[in-house]
């Protein structure tokens, strides 16, 4: 259990305080200095009739993914927990709510479902909760008390955290919950003895935590975001909420618009006036924005859109993760409509990537779609960001004084990028349009002009290649099996490659935050050195594989994990071994 850390799953109904349990558990472990990752999984309902689970994987070494299976299941709802039992490893255990009598244990609905090789600890959660908090509401705190003992962790950090979290509700409430914690802990000590011992190395520094969405918001504010417009949508809303609070303190403003169309429209307006702006959304919102994204392409106005993907199509699976929006990001516009598409793989890349998105958008005057996903956006990890703060950052290419004498907004240049004057600046004015236009910006429908301007707009993507980060290449460079992936599955894939190597098969991987354009030479060279190429992704049709096939002429082995099921390390390891045979 200890080598790869411990994964705990709290499971119950929506409203059972599952997410709070996760926060207290992970908060205490982060204070102890351990690395961890939290993945909340809840239904689209707020209270009742919906299942809610939260997984916390903690380890003394780097946690890259949620791994395979769970070590501990804390069952707050018997019914909901039955299907979760299948994920518990043989070395693991289950805590469930049961009155303290032989008879109650025998008749408990969960008992007969628990496999014989898994240890079960019945704890009277409801009874202890009522004894201390006069309601069922403290069951989650009792369970944390029980868990802390069974896993061999000291109680002080938990007590401190419960106190900190609940003091705002009054000292009495805080004390009630501390009592609830102690009852659960003492009950296990008196009845069961410790199940395992999670070694916490000496000298670890307390860690703070952050989510992918928070990293996106922070990255944007740190690199000069001045205006944000958005409309609430799961799972992107937290970006908007953080920006709403923080941006006004940093000289900017967040506008909640009447819909996603208004959001992207005012973002375009802000960029037209020369100020860094962005919006955040998820698939259905991105679909609504597609016409204005096209306007950005045609009128060469930057846009930055953080799209936190969820299950689709249509309203789809609002609270489940999927990588299903690559097609709409790449191709969702009328006409030939090239746009920058990026996908961060880690929380750090949410931060650095969104800053790169702004730099590319502004320098190359083009929309950038930044494809995060629910899993990456909502998962809580240890904060290991290296902040790069430049509140007045700009990468806009301005005209020289000479060029201003005869200024054309869409002047043809070697790079395809035209120097850019914004309203309020002296020297030149112009009009832009979503219609085809000549260098002046005035509408023009001549075939020659259209071809020339299409060339100009696509040339920018060639020029941009000079500014792209080098792709990540990992693994054994002589391996014949190569993988490529995009976005959040990277961590699980790296773990899968490590598993396969331990089991005798080595492999290598290439991945970039850039999906379009991409550092093509490096990718081509990598693919040329592989005998087999595996492309795992979290969707049903292999959207990234399609891009790779048409761009590099490769014939990869595709692994599709549509929605809900995240890519698992075991699955990747097995695939690598299967291909090797």
């Amino acid at each position: 259990m200890n080598k790869n850390g411990v994964t705990v799953r709290f499971c119950g109904n929506a409203g059972d305080g599952i997410v709070t349990s996760g926060k207290i558990w992970s908060g205490a472990l982060a204070q102890m200095g351990l690395d961890l990752m939290v993945n909340d999984n809840f239904s689209a309902e707020i209270r009742g009739n919906g299942k809610s689970t939260t997984d916390i994987r903690v380890s003394p070494k780097k946690v890259r993914s949620m791994g395979d299976g769970i070590d501990v299941l804390v069952a707050m709802s018997d019914e909901e927990a039955i299907v979760e039992l299948g994920d518990v490893k043989s070395t693991g255990f289950v805590i469930y709510d049961c009155d303290d009598s032989e008879e109650a244990r025998e008749n408990h609905p969960l008992t007969k479902h628990i496999p014989g090789n898994i240890k079960a600890y019945p704890v009277p959660l409801k009874v202890f909760s009522n004894q201390t908090t006069n309601s069922n509401i403290g069951r989650n705190i009792v369970s944390i008390g029980a868990l802390s003992y069974l896993i061999g962790l000291p109680s002080d950090m938990f007590v401190k955290l419960i106190k900190d979290k609940l003091l705002k509700k009054g000292e009495r409430v805080a004390q009630m919950n501390i009592d609830a914690f102690s009852l659960g802990r003492n009950f296990c000590r008196e009845n069961f003895g410790q199940h395992t011992s999670l070694d916490v190395p000496e000298g670890l520094k307390p860690k703070t935590m952050i989510t992918g969405n928070a990293a996106v918001a922070q990255g944007a504010i740190d690199c000069g975001l001045k205006f944000f417009a958005g409309y609430p949508i799961t799972p992107a809303t937290t970006i908007m909420e953080i920006v709403a609070k923080e941006l006004p303190k940093n000289g900017g403003w967040m506008l909640q618009t009447e819909d996603e169309i208004a959001a992207i429209s005012s973002v375009l307006g802000s960029w037209f006036a020369g100020k860094r702006a962005m919006t955040s959304t998820a698939g259905p919102g991105l679909a609504l924005m597609s016409e204005m994204i096209n306007m950005g392409v045609m009128s060469e106005i930057p846009l930055v859109i953080a799209n936190v993907q969820r299950g689709g199509p249509s309203t789809g699976l609002p609270t489940k993760s999927e990588q299903g929006d690559l097609n709409i990001a790449m191709y969702g516009g009328s006409g030939d409509s090239p746009r920058v598409v990026m996908a961060p793989s880690t929380c750090e890349e949410c931060y650095t990537g969104i800053q790169l998105a702004f730099d590319l958008a502004e320098k190359y005057q083009t929309p950038v779609i930044f494809l995060s996903d629910l899993f990456l956006g909502q998962q809580t990890v240890v904060n290991s960001l290296t902040p790069k703060v430049e509140k007045e950052r700009s990468t806009r290419i301005k005209p020289t004084d000479d060029a201003l004498m005869d200024y054309n907004r869409f002047q043809s240049t070697k790079t395809g990028v035209s120097p850019w004057v914004v309203p309020g600046e002296e020297g030149a004015f112009y009009s832009i349009t979503g219609l085809e236009h000549s260098e002046t910006g005035n509408p023009n429908f001549d075939a020659g002009v259209h071809i020339r301007m299409q060339d100009k707009r696509s040339k920018k993507f060639e020029s941009m290649k000079a500014d792209l980060p080098t792709p990540k290449i990992l693994g054994d460079k002589d391996a014949k099996i190569g993988l490529t992936c995009w976005g959040s599955p990277l961590g699980a894939i790296i773990e899968g490659m490590e598993l396969a190597r331990e089991e005798g098969v080595s492999s290598k991987l290439i991945s970039s935050v850039m999906i379009n354009p991409q550092p093509e030479k490096e990718f081509q060279k990598f693919f040329d050195s592989c005998v087999h190429i595996i492309i795992p992704e979290m969707n049903h049709s292999g959207q990234y594989a399609s891009v790779m096939k048409s761009r590099y002429g490769i014939r990869p082995i595709e692994v599709h994990c549509p929605g809900v099921l995240t890519v698992s390390p075991r699955q990747i390891a097995d695939k690598i071994k299967e291909v090797n045979v």
């Binding site: 618009t257 429209s265 005012s266 307006g269 702006a277 004015f429």
Partner: protein, 287 residues
């Protein structure tokens, strides 16, 4: 073509030439000779001159339709955006740089049809934008289809038997949405058009001008003659400070009143935004 129409055609050529002479842009307006849109364009030029607005600080945002071409004929920055989206685009421009004078121009299809969802929110926020809605009660650029402000009974290619939906009244909508400056004009009354555009731009907050601008090419019933016959200035003793009275008069169809229905002093969205930001700068009193 009757005499009145001929007069308008000649006048509009003169205006087009005047546009060119003023060297605002090197583009001649592309509208049909006699189009109702020439006068508000002229009014906008004069208003900008009267208010001494520097071209570098002037941004005109339009949607799609005949009115959408406005930005190409003015001296300043222009943004010919998407169908129905002029208001939210202008919102972004204004909030990014509140120093700019931002004017929105759109038609009836653009403003109360496809973009109808944006209009209330700009009005209720009291953003400092001036919105000119040029209402010709028809889709002109697609050659004469029924619009959301077309009268009941109108026959067109998309309502070949008759239009069986009631028309929207854009002035009433603006009043209901909470705009702090609401006016209606007949596009041919040049002095009134110019005066009201000037006042609207000077107004701090969301100002709305409903311009009745007949389409000479496609509209069979809403013509210069018919509008001229049905409009009347608001009563001379009317003061534009009573919301309820303004609503009653804006709904009148006989006559159709023109003039300033309502003008209210109220902090703009930008004022309130600056208050919030200023509050954040203040040191928090220790408890």
């Amino acid at each position: 073509m009757n005499l009145l129409q001929k007069r308008h055609v000649l006048e509009s050529f003169e205006r087009a030439k005047a546009t060119k002479a003023k060297a605002f842009r090197d583009e001649l307006p592309t509208w049909c000779p006699g189009c109702g849109h020439f006068t508000p364009l002229q009014g906008l030029y004069e208003a900008a001159e009267r208010l001494e607005i520097d071209a570098k600080d002037f941004v005109l945002v339009s949607g799609i339709g005949c009115s959408g071409r406005f930005p190409f004929f003015i001296k300043g920055f222009g943004l010919h955006s998407l169908h129905g989206r002029a208001i939210p685009v202008a919102t972004g421009v204004k909030l990014a740089n509140p120093e700019l004078n931002v004017v929105v121009v759109g038609g009836d299809g653009d403003g109360v049809g496809i973009g109808g969802g944006h209009f209330p929110h700009a009005a209720r926020s009291n953003l400092d934008l001036s919105y000119l809605l040029l209402d010709n009660a028809i889709y002109g650029l697609t050659k004469g289809q029924t619009s959301p402000t077309s009268p009941m009974g109108m026959v067109s290619s998309t309502t070949p038997y008759e239009n069986i939906s009631k028309p929207l009244n854009a002035s009433t909508m603006a009043l209901t949405y909470g705009a702090t400056f609401v006016a209606r004009v007949f596009s041919q009354e040049k002095d009134q058009v110019t005066d009201l555009i000037t006042q609207a731009i000077a107004h701090k907050g969301f100002s709305f001008i409903h311009v009745l601008s007949p389409c000479i090419e496609f509209h069979k019933t809403i013509t210069y003659e018919s509008v001229e016959e049905s409009v009347a200035h608001l009563p001379s003793d009317y003061t534009p400070d009573d919301h309820v009275e303004a609503l009653v008069l804006s709904e009148s169809t006989d006559p159709i009143y023109t003039g300033l229905f309502l003008e209210k002093k109220s902090p703009s969205y930008e004022d309130r935004m600056n208050d919030v930001k200023a509050g954040l700068q203040k040191p928090v009193a220790s408890v």
